[in-house]
């Protein structure tokens, strides 16, 4: 019998084209035995949520470097809830000032991983918090 695998959508919302970080995370999650669906660049919150629903993921991991995180991250959480998918774990990463993190957490982003975070930290966080 196969056990349930953790499925993660790694998504790049917003208009910046820097996906090195997203790809490093994707690779780390894969090496931790997860199935990673990579969305590609410049996804709208609507596209991210539609992909998360179609792929039946357990986690949405978003990376953003454009500065629009305060708008885009909460929007994804809101749309997931509207689609009865509030159980999906949402995490974020990228260039995000410390002062913005409390606001993001209040708005349903479970954790924010800023530059320099060891990938193992992110892997552990997902394993401990995903609802499987």
């Amino acid at each position: 019998m196969t056990e349930k695998r953790i499925r993660v959508l790694v998504a790049k919302p917003g208009l910046d084209g820097h996906d090195r970080g997203a790809k490093v995370i994707a690779r780390a999650l894969r090496d931790a035995g997860m199935e990673v669906i990579y969305s590609g660049l410049r996804q709208t919150p609507e596209q991210i949520v539609a992909a998360a629903l179609q792929e039946d993921v357990d986690v949405v991991a978003m990376s953003i470097l454009s500065g629009a995180h305060n708008h885009l991250f909460p929007k994804v959480v809101e749309l997931l809830k509207e689609n009865n998918a509030g159980d999906i774990l949402v995490i974020g990463g990228g260039v995000i000032p410390d002062m913005d993190i409390p606001f993001l957490k209040e708005n349903g982003i479970a954790e924010i991983f800023t530059p320099g975070t060891p990938t193992a930290t992110t892997v552990e966080f997902i394993k401990n918090n995903v609802k499987v």
């Binding site: 499925r7 990579y38 179609q54």
Partner: protein
């Protein structure tokens, strides 16, 4: 719970469809119950396999083909199968990148699947996923799979129509014979046909196909495409339609589906039987001890297998 999902999925609820496919992927008991309910509604979709070497443009081609069929009001599901790492069990599934525009189309469902250790390029759950999507009323189901050599043959068992995608510049004509892909293609596509070497590749394919001893009434067409420019896509959609008509008219559709069912049923029986035997033999670590005995030459594996078989079926 799962019955609720079955009704919702039949009504087109994407999340319910996605949940049912997850059950099938995880071999959850709910999957069997759902499939029992859904089976009577299957059989209406045209199942199209798309295979070819990595980088030949399968995802981009699928994206354009889906858009072409959407113009005609058809609904489409795409199963994008990518390899699972045999070392970690993880996978990076990146086919959605080329199909971003389709994400918000309510008539399109895209699902990425890892092969999860199954040889042949197709995940074990693919045939279950196909049935779920078929019962949910999609007009077309595309199965896109990475193909390097013999493993594509698995697709044929699942698809009504198989597209083989190739590109110029991969090597000489021996590559095409070696790969063994000629026997499985119903339609051949030379993608990136704006590149050098296209004419030669077409010529080589024509010669190979001509030599195929299993030639029937259907002569597989060789189509030229340049997917990002949408070149040749309408012709490809038309060829898929012609192949469907041919299958129906000649009765091949029924006979292929019958063969496919036979394979699937045998596979399921093998799975169930193996699991049953291993579970029984593993009680109290017995199986492990027997394997050690074989290792130490106290018994040979053939005698052991015969003994287990007789014990199970007598």
């Amino acid at each position: 719970m799962e019955m609720e999902f079955v009704e919702k999925a039949r009504a087109g609820d994407m999340r319910a469809i996605a949940k049912l496919i997850s059950y099938a992927e995880n071999e959850a008991p709910e999957a069997v119950e759902a499939l029992q309910k859904l089976y009577p509604y299957t059989g209406n979709a045209q199942i199209v396999g798309i295979t070819g070497p990595p980088g030949s443009g399968k995802s981009t081609l699928t994206d354009k083909l889906v858009k072409e069929l959407r113009k005609k009001g058809k609904t489409i599901a795409v199963l994008a199968v990518d390899p699972t790492s045999p070392f970690t069990g993880g996978a990076i599934l990146g086919d959605r990148v080329r199909m971003s525009d389709l994400t918000l189309d309510p008539g399109v469902y895209i699902r990425s699947m890892g092969t999860r250790g199954r040889l042949g390029g197709l995940s074990k759950a693919t045939s279950f996923a196909v049935k779920i999507l078929d019962a949910c009323g999609f007009d077309y189901i595309f199965i896109e799979t990475v193909g390097v050599g013999q493993s594509e043959v698995d697709i044929v068992k699942t698809a009504d129509t198989t597209l083989v995608v190739t590109v110029p510049g991969l090597g000489d004509d021996i590559q095409a014979i070696k790969a063994g892909i000629l026997e499985i293609g119903d339609i051949f596509i030379v993608n990136k046909a704006d590149r050098d070497g296209t004419d030669r590749l077409v010529l080589e394919l024509e010669m190979m196909l001509d030599l195929n001893p299993q030639k029937g009434e259907w002569i597989p067409p060789i189509l030229l495409t340049v997917a990002p420019q949408n070149q040749g896509i309408a012709e490809l959609a038309a060829a898929i339609g012609r192949h469907s008509d041919y299958l129906t008219r000649t009765g091949l559709l029924q006979s292929r589906r019958k063969e496919r069912l036979e394979t699937e049923i045998i596979d399921m029986l093998i799975n169930k039987t193996t699991q049953h035997i291993i579970r029984r033999q593993s009680e109290g670590g017995r199986f492990e001890r027997e394997i050690l005995r074989v290792l130490n030459k106290e018994i040979d594996p053939y005698t052991l297998v015969t003994a287990i078989f007789e014990e199970t079926f007598k």
